[in-house]
Amino acid sequence: MAKVKNPYFPVEAEILEIIEETPTIKTFVLRPQEPIVFKAGQFMELSVPGVGEAPFTPSSSPHQREKMDITVLRTGTVTDALHEMQTGQKLGLRGPYGKGYPVDKLHGKEVLVVGGGVGLAPLRSLIYTLLEDLKKFKRVAIKYGARTPQELCFHREFKDWSSRKGVDMEVTIDVPAPGWDGRVGLVTVLLENLDIDLKNSAAISCGPEVMLKFVTLKLLEEGFRPEQIYLSMNRNMSCGVGKCGHCIVGRYFLCKDGPDMNYADVMDVPDLFG
C-alpha cells in the first residue's frame, strides 16, 4: 500500500457568508477544514458536491488565513449550482495551484492593474497584497471596466483602495447608463495616454480572453514591451497538477506555470486568445 497524498481529493470547506456583488456575481466566504496558504494569483479547484469542479482564484488577501473569499460569476453548470448554495453548506477545495502573480518582480515599479468584469476577483487578492506593502511599489494604478454600473464588482471597496497614498483608480462602463457620470467605453479607453514611467512599470491584467487580447494590443501600442505585460490566462483546468492537458498554452501548463503568464513567453503560441 503506497501512502502518497491523493492530489484529486478535496478538503472540505464551509460557506460562512455569501455576498451578492452584482446580479450575477457572488462572493463566497469559505472556511476550509484546514487553513490553506496561498499566494495572490494562485488558484483553487472548487467542488460543488455531486455536480463538479471548476478553477477559481481566491479574491481575498493571502494574509487572511482562516477564511478565503472566492468570487464567482454565474455562467455554467458548476457556477449555477454554486450560486444556489446557502451559508452553512459544505463544498470541496483543492489547491492552491500555479505560481501566482510575480509580486517580487513588481518591487520599485509603477504597477498597472487592469481588470474586466469578474476578472477583478483574482486582482483583488493582488491589490490587497500590494496595499499591505505599498512602500515597496512606486505606484499602483488600477484600471477597471464592467458592462454596466450594476456589474461593477467590489464597488464598496473602491473608495478605500483609491484613498491610499500611491494608489489611483479609474473605472469605466461599456455603454452610457442613466445616473452614471464616470468614464464610458471598454477598459482600453483607460489605457490611452497613460501617465506612467514606461521604463519602470509592469502591467497585470485579468478578464475575458477577448479583453486580454485588446488590453495587450493597447499596452503594446502605448509603448509597453511584451516582458512588461502579465496576463491571467483562462483555460478550463481539470487536474490542476500538470497532467490532464486541458490548460496547455503552447508548452506551458497554466495550472503549473501560470495561470499568470508573461506575455513575452506566450506571444508566439497559436490560438493564444482564441
Binding site: M1, A2, K3, V4, K5, N6, P7, Y8, F9, P10, E12, S47, P49, G50, V51, G52, E53, A54, L73, T75, G76, T79, K90, G92, P208, E209, N234, R235, N236, S238, C239, V241, G242, K243, C244, G245, H246, I248, G250, R251, P270, D271, L272, F273, G274
Partner: protein, 349 residues
C-alpha cells in the same frame, strides 16, 4: 545485459509461477491474424502469441484506465492506494517507450499515486517484433522494433525456443528464483537474434520508404503551423473528431475529472479525454481557444512533436501506427509528417 534461453513450454510454467494470484495480460492472435492483449487465466497460457508485432490495443490502459475512480468525498478516512499485481507479456518496444513517457507525465514533480502503484505492481515482459504491420513506423521516429532497456524481461522467440533478456533488478530476481526454467544460450542463437533484429529493422524501413520522413520534427511542426497543407482539402480535411486516434495512442494522456453523485456522496473519476473534441477546450460562458477543428487537429501534432520535446525531452509518438489503423478518415500520421516536412523544405528554398 544477461540473456538466457528457455522453451515455450518451460516459459509458460515460469509465467504460471510468477503470476501466482496476480493478473496476466498477454498477446494472443485471433482468427483473422490480428494480435490482441487479453487477460489470460492460468489454464490458457498456451494461447500466448509472441509473433508478428504490437497488439491492436494499447497497453497504457493497464496503468491509466479509460475510467477509474480517484476520490470519494466526504470520506471519514484517507484512502489507501491499491492495485493488483499484474504481469504484461508481449508489449513491444513502441509500447515500452510510450510507458516511459507516461511515467514522466504521471510521476514527475507531482505524483499520481494511482498510476504509481499500478506501475510498481507490474512486471513488464516485452518482446522483439517479428513481422511488422504495414502501419508500423518506429524506425522513422528514431526508435527500433526491439527494446533495449526499461523492461523487466524481453523475449525473442526463435524456432520454439525463447531468448530471455534480463533488463532490471526485478527481472534478475525472477530468473534467479526460477533458475530451473532457464539455460545459457548458444552463441548461434544470439547471432540469430541479431540477424532477425536487423531484418525486421530493415523491413520497417522499407514499409515506410515512400514517406520520406525523418526525425526530428520539432522545428518543422512549429514553423509550419500556418502552412496551407493543414487546411482546405489538406490534413485535417477528413477528420471526423471521433477520438479513435487518441484512445489507441499509447502516449495520449489527456483526461477529465468527472464528478457524480452516488447516494449521499460524490465520486470523482478520471476519464480519458480527447483534444479533438470541442468540449475539451470549452470554458465558462461557452468560450473556447480552439473553436475550429483545424486548430484542434494541429494541436495534436504540436503537443506530440513540439511541446513534449520541451517538457519531457522526447516526442510523444513511438511509431506504433495504431492511429493509422484506427482512423475512419484514413488519416495517416506519416503522410501528415511527410507533407509538413516537404512544406518545410520548400519554404526554406
Amino acid at each position: 545485459m544477461k540473456v538466457l534461453v528457455s522453451s515455450a513450454e518451460r516459459f509458460e510454467l515460469f509465467l504460471e509461477r510468477i503470476v501466482g494470484d496476480g493478473v496476466l495480460y498477454a498477446n494472443v492472435e485471433d482468427e483473422e491474424g490480428r494480435v490482441h492483449f487479453e487477460k489470460l487465466p492460468s489454464d490458457q497460457l498456451t494461447r500466448i502469441f509472441l509473433g508478428k508485432a504490437r497488439a491492436l490495443e494499447t497497453s497504457k490502459a493497464f496503468f491509466f484506465p479509460p475510467r477509474s475512480k480517484v476520490a470519494e468525498f466526504p470520506s471519514a478516512s484517507p484512502e489507501e492506494m491499491a492495485a493488483p499485481q499484474i504481469v504484461v507479456v508481449g508489449m513491444r518496444a513502441c509500447g515500452l517507450k510510450a510507458l516511459q513517457i507516461l511515467d514522466q507525465v504521471f510521476t514527475d514533480d507531482i505524483v499520481d499515486p494511482f498510476y504509481q502503484v499500478r506501475r510498481e505492481n507490474s512486471t513488464i515482459i516485452t518482446c522483439d517484433c517479428v513481422e511488422p504491420w504495414d502501419s508500423c513506423f518506429c524506425t522513422e521516429v528514431g526508435y527500433k522494433p526491439y527494446p533495449e532497456s526499461g523492461f523487466d524481461l524481453n523475449l525473442c522467440p526463435l524456432n520454439g525456443q525463447i531468448l530471455v533478456e534480463v533488463g532490471s533488478e526485478k527481472g534478475e530476481v525472477l530468473v534467479r528464483d526460477h533458475a530451473d526454467f532457464f539455460a545459457e544460450p548458444e552463441q548461434a542463437l544470439l547471432d540469430q537474434r541479431e540477424a532477425n533484429r536487423k531484418t525486421v529493422f530493415q523491413r520497417v524501413r522499407e514499409i515506410n520508404a515512400h514517406f520520406h520522413i525523418a526525425a526530428p520534427f520539432q522545428k518543422t511542426i512549429s514553423r509550419q503551423l500556418a502552412s496551407p497543407v493543414w487546411a482546405k482539402n489538406g490534413l485535417a480535411y477528413s477528420c471526423v473528431e471521433c477520438g479513435a486516434c487518441t484512445h489507441v495512442c499509447p502516449t495520449c494522456r489527456c483526461f477529465l475529472l468527472v464528478d457524480q453523485k452516488v447516494r449521499d456522496h460524490t465520486e470523482r473519476s478520471m476519464v480519458w479525454d480527447v483534444c479533438f473534441y470541442p468540449g475539451y477546450w470549452r470554458m465558462a460562458g461557452n468560450l473556447s481557444p480552439k473553436p475550429v477543428l483545424l486548430n484542434r487537429f494541429r494541436n495534436r501534432f504540436s503537443c506530440k512533436f513540439d511541446y513534449f520535446v520541451d517538457n519531457y525531452q522526447a516526442i510523444a509518438c513511438t511509431g506504433c501506427g495504431r492511429c493509422i489503423q484506427a482512423c475512419m478518415g484514413n488519416i495517416d500520421i506519416r503522410q501528415c509528417l511527410s507533407e509538413l516536412q516537404a512544406a518545410e523544405k520548400t519554404s526554406k528554398k
